[in-house]
């Protein structure tokens, strides 16, 4: 399971970085979203990957760590707010600057 998880994170991050470097607002927003998915999964994985474990201390030797889940929840909420903001900003940039390049102007060829 760990290997699959790691590969998933790697693919998500790689796609995110690739999209981020396209330097057009829509791919960039998609790229940031993919990266934040990867980061959320990473945080989740930091509580160790296991299934069917009780979230209560003392019942068994092993337990599911609740802290990363709380952290992920916080990170997801913040991530949503930030994505919403950056989408609105991109639309506004498109309206005001008339370009979807992140520099606000078309690159010189």
């Amino acid at each position: 399971m760990e290997a699959l998880f790691a590969v998933t994170l790697g693919v998500l991050t790689a796609c995110g970085v690739y999209l981020l470097l396209r330097a057009r607002v829509f791919p960039v927003v998609m790229g940031l979203t993919l990266i934040s998915y990867a980061v959320n999964l990473f945080l989740f994985g930091m509580g160790r990957l296991n299934s069917g474990m009780p979230a209560v201390l003392g019942k068994t030797g092993e337990y599911a760590d609740p802290v990363p889940q709380a952290l992920v929840l916080t990170a997801i909420v913040i991530g949503f707010a930030m994505t919403a903001f950056v989408v609105v900003l991109s639309l506004r940039a498109l309206g005001e600057v008339k370009s979807d390049h992140v520099d606000g102007e078309e690159p010189r060829e």
Partner: protein, 499 residues
Amino acid sequence: MKHALILPILLPMFTGALLLAAARMPLGLRRGVSLGATWLLLPLSILLLAQASDGQLRLYALGGWQPPFGIVLLLDRLSALMLLVTAVLAGFVALYACRGDDERGSDFHALLQFQLMGINGAFLTGDLFNLFVFFEILLIASYCLLLHGGGAQRVRAGMHYVLLNLLGSSFFLLGVGTLYGLTGTLNMADLALRIGQAAPSETPLLAAAGFLLLVVFALKAAVLPLYFWLPRAYASATAPVAALFAIMTKVGLYAILRVFTLLYGSEAGELANLARDWLWPLALLTVIGGALGALGARTLQMLLGYLMILSVGTLLAGIALGSPASIAALLYYLIHSTWISAGLFLLADLIARQRGEQAGALTAGPALQQPLLLGGMFFVGAIAIAGLPPFSGFIGKLLLLRAAPMGYPTLLLWTVLLTGGLCALVALSRAGSTLFWRASGQPSVTVEHDPLRLIASSGLLLGAPLLVLAGGPLQAYLQATAEQLLDLAPYLRIVGGGA
């Protein structure tokens, strides 16, 4: 008075929420509420400073959960000092904004309050994930403030700022996640303990997490390879926002100072003083970058933006040296550079208003309406920020230069800092002579004289002589702050039995 510790976070939070809910209230009333709440932070932070100056660490366990299990707020001399610096700055910024800049868009005052909540929270928290949350609060408020007033120029500069910081947040989470995965805690004091006891097999990962955090904080603080967003963003923001942002780079520096003295400080075993070797060249290169940028700047606001970078480099050199004397010196310089550059940003706006179309462009233009008054203020501010006697910049730089140990660091630091100061001086005198002396003819526009705007700007600039006059007691406090920061034993006792 136990609860006074959390008030610098709660007060702006509730004021901001009230201002959002009551957005239909008359503007005058909203201004009054916002101004009142902002100035109330000043007595509050003085009270906290008085509490902290006895050298005890004060903890506030949220919900009564004792560390390391719950989130704690931590008040020491450093955080009390940062709160005070913020409160003074915010008071004058709010005053300036009330004279018209808050009408350019909606909800300026609510955003200002949320920004203050994030900044105060970042200074007070003793929990790494909580630091992330407060960073996000201050960032999202700063995105909105930066874009406040709209316009293509702001959107263009804001885009870089927003995207870079969103990526920075991901890095922050990766760093925090790695630390949690390895140590199982997020409390800074507990983290410091566990990093010190870490098994040798874990140290490379812990170091990687530390460097990830360094990248994030360096982005916020605008250290060399990561500062290119700053000048344009600051130059395009409205004047009160640019002035308020003078504290934003300092939040990043504060985080570097906190994390790399406590978590990766002297008690971190193999990882002790992890970042020091990196901070040193970065600091000097940042000074050089800021100085070159200042020489090439074409508008007054850009020039001030690059001077901000120059001061970030200077402050970082203080962190890199890492002795009590250098940390005390850097804190002195931090107070000075926050207030003076904020005052200069406000002054630049006053000057730009009287130049009509030319605004802040450094080209010959029409005469100003109040050349003597504004020129005098610019002169004081320029001398202070360039680091010439008799004002605070000189004392700050002198303390820092004296704190450098003998040998090659001294040689490098003296050369770079003094050359940087010279470049700043050249850039400022060129700007000043263009603005005030190469002016011809009659004033092109008539602007109403606004004494309150002048008071806001000169109030901050007045820090230059006041910091010199109060130099003795201030220096004693800062020396004690630096010693408290470097003596980790009380911090480590937080976990398992209170401070």
